[in-house]
């Protein structure tokens, strides 16, 4: 028997259905892999007992022939998702040892469909970061290394634990969330596939909020097909989240292998940045050529307000975050650092509980919402957001089916390399934030390697609720580029 952890989710699904192996065997193989990969710091909480119990239960169901679409598949869960009776911290000290009495809608749908939980995955504190270095549990290490180097690289963020664990085959897929690129950027940095669906496609209920109007859950997996399988279970309307959309969930997997012939693919000129590395340029043209070869038509498009997206994002997201994070006050749960007055208790708790990046964003957000600054910042950023959205609408109205862009401006960088200047870090999201601002679906698919043999990804941006087209196109790129697997050093 081959190493079970190297199977794709789709392959494992077949093996389980054929009874080639049991979920318990598959789960044990992954638990072993997790134990052996602690150097990556991908998991912040391993739940082997629960995993085995879930695996045994699902094995019994598979035996009776009704296991569900994800029967027996071991997954990792980003620590932003509330998991009943399992510590949930958003990788912030301020949540301490918080154990929810409730399960997020997205994860409960995964368990409903038969998946097995291996544990909780590391992320940037409250999903604020692009390198997974802001986590209170320390940075996650990318399983990829530069050729001939032992330098530890970041997996991207904020879903760094999810990306790293999937790339290193510690789980068959993982949940992640994306507010400005937190699924797609780490997927690109680790040679994995990550999709952020349309805003409203997944329920946000039970996911620790960062910026409510931008946050969306999505999967990270090793193949386009695997991500489509996971997406189907994660998506769906939830009456507990009024921003979730009541719309039937399609069989995303059916979109894999569908012809892309005649599809119009937009190449937005504003994404061609000054000083963009040649290898990113090359990757982008290659990707376009593959789609063309598959029968798609390439068209130059313009998204004129792109350059305002990042600054506007760094007003809207911190503004919402400053309010969303007000509940962490030491009164009801999590960390409490006493003071002589309630005001002092707030100050002490929040100063000690939040890390530097979170504090920075809370302060920015508080500032841009303040009387006298609201119009100049928040309101103006919302107007920019409307213009960005309109750019995409205009583009789609001209018959464009999807837009192709690079996923990131570079490959993974070293742990500790960036961070002195927060803006340098924020620039990681330059190609991804527009998608959140417009509420559109975006997928990152590995498409090549840089000069140091690190994986690079391309992004496809779709029409609202047209994730299926992204899966079809993504698979064309995947077929052409091949799969990317890091050499095991840990």
């Amino acid at each position: 028997m081959t190493d079970l952890t190297s199977l794709t989710l789709a392959e494992a699904r077949e093996g389980l259905a054929n009874k080639s192996f049991t979920s318990l065997e598959l789960t044990d193989a992954h638990l072993g892999a997790i134990e052996a990969a602690r150097a990556l710091n991908a998991f912040v909480m391993e739940t082997p007992d629960q995993a085995r119990a879930m695996a045994r239960a699902i094995d019994a169901k598979i035996g009776k022939g009704h296991g569900g679409p994800l029967a027996g598949i071991p997954l990792g869960i980003k620590d932003l998702f509330a998991t009943r009776d399992v510590r949930t911290t958003a990788c912030s000290k301020i949540l301490g040892n918080f154990v929810p009495t409730y399960e997020s809608t997205v994860t409960s749908q995964l368990w409903r469909d038969g998946a097995v939980m291996l544990g909780k995955l590391n992320n940037d504190e409250f999903a604020m970061g692009s390198s997974n270095e802001t986590s209170c549990f320390g940075p996650v290490v990318n399983p990829w290394r530069r050729e001939g180097s032992n330098t530890a690289l970041v997996p991207g963020g904020s879903s760094g634990g999810s990306a790293s664990a999937v790339a290193a085959m510690l789980c068959m897929g993982a949940t992640a969330t994306d507010t400005g690129g937190s699924i797609r950027q780490p997927a690109a940095f680790t040679g994995t596939v990550g999709i952020k669906p349309t805003y409203g496609r997944c329920s946000r209920w039970g996911i620790v909020a960062f910026a409510s109007s931008l946050d969306q859950a999505g999967p990270i997996a090793r193949t386009v097909r695997d991500s489509a399988i996971l997406m189907r279970s994660m998506a769906g309307h939830d009456p507990k989240d009024t921003t979730s959309v009541d719309r039937a969930v399609p069989d995303y997997e059916a979109a894999i292998g569908k012809s892309v012939k005649g599809m119009k693919i937009g190449i937005p000129r504003e994404y061609r940045l000054d000083g963009m590395p040649a290898e990113i340029e090359k990757l982008w043209s290659e990707g376009a050529a593959w789609l063309k070869a598959a029968g798609a038509e390439l068209v130059d498009v313009s998204l004129p307000h792109t350059k305002y997206a990042l600054p506007a994002y760094y007003i809207v997201a911190p503004a919402e975050a400053s309010s969303n994070l007000a509940r962490y006050d030491g009164v009801r749960y999590g960390l409490r650092v006493p003071g002589r007055s309630i005001g002092e208790q707030y100050e002490n708790t929040r100063a000690e509980g939040f890390g530097a990046e979170v504090r920075r964003r809370v302060m920015i957000g508080t500032y841009v919402l303040s009387a006298g600054y609201y119009d100049a910042y928040y309101l103006r950023a919302q107007k920019v957001r409307t213009l960005i959205k309109r750019d995409f609408e205009d583009c789609f109205a001209k018959g464009v089916h999807a837009i192709l862009t690079p996923a990131t401006p570079s490959a993974a960088f070293g742990v500790g390399e960036k961070g002195a200047d927060p803006v340098e870090m924020y620039l990681n999201d330059i190609f991804t934030v527009t998608v959140n601002m417009a509420g559109l679906p975006g997928i990152a698919v590995p498409a090549g390697r840089d000069a140091q043999a690190l994986p690079l990804g391309l992004q496809l941006i779709g029409r609202p609720f047209d994730e299926e087209t992204l899966f079809s196109l993504g698979e064309v790129i995947e077929q052409a580029a091949g799969r990317f697997t890091p050499a095991r050093w840990w």
């Binding site: 998702f81 946000r204 209920w205 039970g206 109007s213 921003t243 309630i342 303040s370």
Partner: protein, 492 residues
């Protein structure tokens, strides 16, 4: 529309006018909270009606309670106000231990209800029109308990998230009497609509009062806001003492600082709570967890069609249909329960058109008078509406006299029973048998020749005979028949 003239206050430098605006917080009558399914029941064990949303657990999201929206629309329609078919929920950000989210979900720039107006009826038939600025929905906060421990405060989140309507008046109110009349009428409308129980003792209705003073017709003065007053008479008292405080300061050459104050009913004074400089910057912004609230014209029309008759309409109908005086009709409609009682009495009458006004007199004078004397309210009346209908019927049809009816009322009040049966069994029926009455009249005339002579000389003295006849018949003789007989027999 211009504000009514109010009572002026005499100061050392002349008359002063008070300018008042009210923000009334009314708890929406609903089983569940504004954004969570938790119960709104009053008086549970601390923290027994708290959902994950109310406690602001990580990842929790608000979901609007549709019933609260209906109640707000209903209230807006009852206040003749504009219903905004699109409104937005905003977050009002501030830190407080009994505010778990760190923000209150409220409506700031786009409230669910816009402008409306209310006509107040004041003493002496005067009226005053008060503009309604807006009505918006918002969450209530929890409660901090400071008396359970010497060095800790406890938090009770039972009220956290309960739906409130904040109803803001325009600064059209000119004295304490108008302010009290405004809150009284607002409370009555809310109770008619069933959108707020109006129970001020339980805090279901409370008011923030904005007060400033000026020389009549002069420019507006600086206002102070007196927070959270939960009794109508305290509202009046607070306005009077705050206005006097401001007048004194200005007349002494000082200026008023815009600030938030608290009223101390024990001391009869207001005192500073926080100054303008300490005012929060609430950093309002649209709540991204909630979509704008939108509904159709048909939705509003459907709610409008289901509105009950409101006090003003009811009063007009009582006057038109039964010839009630404006005052009496006003008394009956002031409280929903009184009006309902009167309506039930009316429904039980054999001839509403004939006896509607008589019934109103009986409800107001006999029943309310007796209830007031015993400190009871209408819901605990020992005489039911059905019993009162029967009594009024008996008078109206001439079976008993008004005087006997009072005795009957007393029996029903203390012993209960069916009035019609009581009249039979206790022989209280009015005697209309002319032969029987004539016999008594003849006897009395025969026994009192001197009085007969006097009465013939001075017809006003015939009243003595009426009294004698009534006395000898035990009050049961029909007074009209007695009068007629006496007149013919005495030849006057």
């Amino acid at each position: 529309m211009s504000a009514a003239i109010g009572k002026l206050i005499k100061g050392a430098t002349g008359d002063w006018e008070t300018v008042i605006g009210l923000e009334v917080h009314a708890q929406v009558t609903s089983n569940a909270k504004l954004f969570s399914g938790a119960s709104t029941e009053f008086g549970g064990e601390p923290n027994s009606h708290v959902s994950l949303v109310d406690a602001a657990m990580p990842g929790m999201l608000p979901v609007i309670n549709e019933e609260c929206v209906r109640q707000a629309v209903r209230t807006g329609l009852g206040l003749n106000a504009k219903i905004n078919r699109r409104s937005v929920f905003d977050r009002k950000n501030y830190f407080f231990p009994d505010l778990p989210q760190g923000y209150q979900i409220s409506q700031y720039l786009s409230p669910i209800v816009g402008e409306g107006e209310m006509v107040l009826e004041l003493d002496g038939g005067r009226t005053a029109t008060v503009g309604i600025e807006r009505l918006h929905l918002e969450q209530d906060a929890g409660k901090s308990l400071h008396d359970r421990s010497p060095n800790l405060s406890y938090i009770d989140l039972n009220r956290s998230g309960v739906a409130l309507m904040e109803i803001v008046s325009k600064p059209d109110i000119r004295d304490a009497e108008q302010a009290k009349a405004y809150v009284t009428k607002l409370r009555s409308i809310l109770r008619y609509l069933g959108t707020c129980d109006g129970d001020m003792e339980k805090g279901s209705l409370r008011a923030d009062v904005n007060v400033s003073v000026r020389k009549p017709g002069g420019p507006l003065g600086t206002r102070c806001e007196i927070k959270n007053i939960n009794s109508i008479s305290f509202i009046g008292d607070a306005i009077e003492c705050e206005a006097r405080r401001q007048i004194e300061i200005i007349e002494d050459g000082g200026t008023i600082d815009q600030e938030t104050r608290l009223y101390d009913p024990g001391k009869g004074e207001t005192r500073s709570m926080r100054s303008k400089e300490d005012a929060h910057d609430y950093r309002y912004f649209p709540d991204p967890d909630l979509l704008p609230l939108e509904f159709s014209e048909a939705y509003v029309a459907e709610i409008k069609a289901g509105l009950p008759e409101l006090p003003d309409q009811k009063k007009a109908r009582f006057i038109a249909d039964f010839g009630l005086s404006s005052y009496d009709a006003g008394v009956l409609v002031a409280e929903r329960e009184s009006a309902d009682f009167y309506e039930t009495v009316l429904a039980g009458l054999a001839d509403k058109a004939r006896d509607g006004k008589l019934a109103a007199n009986w409800v107001i004078n006999e029943l309310f008078g007796r209830l007031n004397k015993e400190g009871r309210d209408i819901t605990g009346s020992p005489v039911s509406a059905e019993q009162l209908s029967a009594i009024v019927d008996l008078i109206g049809e001439g079976t008993i006299s008004g005087k006997i009816a009072k005795d009957l009322f007393e029996i029903v009040w203390t012993e209960g029973g069916d009035p019609r049966a009581l009249v039979e069994t206790r022989g209280m029926k009015q005697v209309t048998d002319l032969g029987a009455i004539e016999k008594v009249v003849d006897e009395i005339i025969a026994a009192n020749p001197d009085k007969v002579a006097q009465a013939r000389a001075k017809p006003q003295l015939a009243g003595w005979f009426v009294g004698q006849v009534m006395k000898s018949s035990g009050g049961k003789a029909n007074p009209q028949a007695v009068n007629d007989l006496l007149k013919s027999k005495l030849g006057i």
